[in-house]
Symmetry: D2
Subunit: 139 residues, 4 copies
């Protein structure tokens, strides 16, 4: 899995720019981390929902792409449960719940020191292509 | 509304850092814009779902806070419909659908030149506080 | 479309049993109706969320299957906006928002006399089979 | 909890009419059961999404109302993972994930003999009223 880990670490511009760090990847599983900085704050001075979503979504993307073929996110539902503050170190863990030939469903939990910050449920459409093939298609 | 417009423009660290620009705000309505740059790309070389979510969520936040009291996002559901590419200028428009004393529901549409990129539905819990009061509570 | 209308009217056991009536069907569109009866009430004496969901879901199913090939619902997100009471005549309208080769996204609005009761967003996976072929596969 | 169990068993018209049976209730938890019959079938001859939703929603309602004060469902997101067929005995288990003063978030899993059929995530708004008081307000 080291190769997969390296691939995900090196190829996600947006995740890197937001400060998301990949911790672990297994088939159908990913764990990522982000420390809340001034950069991530919203109007109320707490971590922006979009930043929490991006952290969860990053874990979701890595987990759902851990099998080597590209999975495209088609739907995600997030519930915000507790606020996250500057300095908090947030962890997002994504797990495959179940899948069929074409679709996969994942649950992603965002926590701060075991306090639940948000829950995301996501569905992917599983393509039969790898990333290089897909890039050519999409562009 | 100029004062509200200025407030939202000056006080959202994360939105600014992501490249989201506020275009218009009315009661229960907001329009924002973001150009997709290399910064926003994901593993497949198209705009990251988290960046699209953040754009939509920013419009949602401004629209739901346009009445002067703080509204907290409690749930958001996003459906990704078409991919957005580097160079695209994305627009997100948020509209209040309906509200009760305590809750409000918004629809946010993200488009690129009238092509639908994503749809987000969001629910807020309406507090009775302004931003300064809330900051003191949350921190 | 009369043939399609008849097909949907005659073949949905659950919809019929719940009291859902098909009003109109066009490509990518359906309108259905249900009067709230004692049958549909929940613990609080108003229309059960499951009954409102079923009404919306029925419109969603007809609209997404109006093209002749089977579409399978993979995700639905419902926001409850106002309560519906015994005697109310609820209308659900489903509209196709956008689609790709394999996926379609629909918005369904449930109203009582123009008051919004609930909003549902749904995603389908479009198979290449008709109903008879699918029945054989699933059973 | 016997009193609460009896209350929920006797007062939900729609659940009873659909064939949902309450198995167990604890604070923030409920387990319910429904056997898929011809009554529940959809156009494709498998269990209607609305029936699966109603089963999950019933567990959600009981769990979120197990504390004695009324909780109102404001949002629910369901992902359909596997089809359920006539004869299947479906179980739905609802668990409180986390809550604040005013809001609660629940996860509901629908299974058939340990195979996941659907996942529902739901958010409630917690009122300070009991059912009798609420009925008077709503009607």
């Amino acid at each position: 899995m080291q190769k997969i880990f390296d691939f995900f670490t090196q190829n996600n511009e947006f995740g890197k720019n937001i400060g998301v760090k990949l911790i672990e990847v297994k088939y159908g599983y990913a764990k990522v981390q982000m420390q809340v900085k001034k950069f991530h704050l919203n109007l109320a001075g707490v971590c922006h929902g979009g930043a929490i979503f991006t952290l969860a979504d990053y874990a979701f993307a890595v987990a759902s792409n851990s099998f080597g073929k590209v999975s495209l996110g088609i739907n995600a539902n997030i519930s915000y449960i507790n606020a996250a503050k500057e300095g908090d170190i947030l962890i997002a863990e994504a797990k495959l719940v179940d899948e069929s030939n074409r679709l996969g469903t994942y649950e992603i939990k965002v926590t701060d020191n075991n306090k639940v910050i948000a829950l995301l449920n996501g569905t992917v459409y599983k393509t039969t292509k790898n990333f290089e093939e897909l890039k050519n298609d999409l562009q």
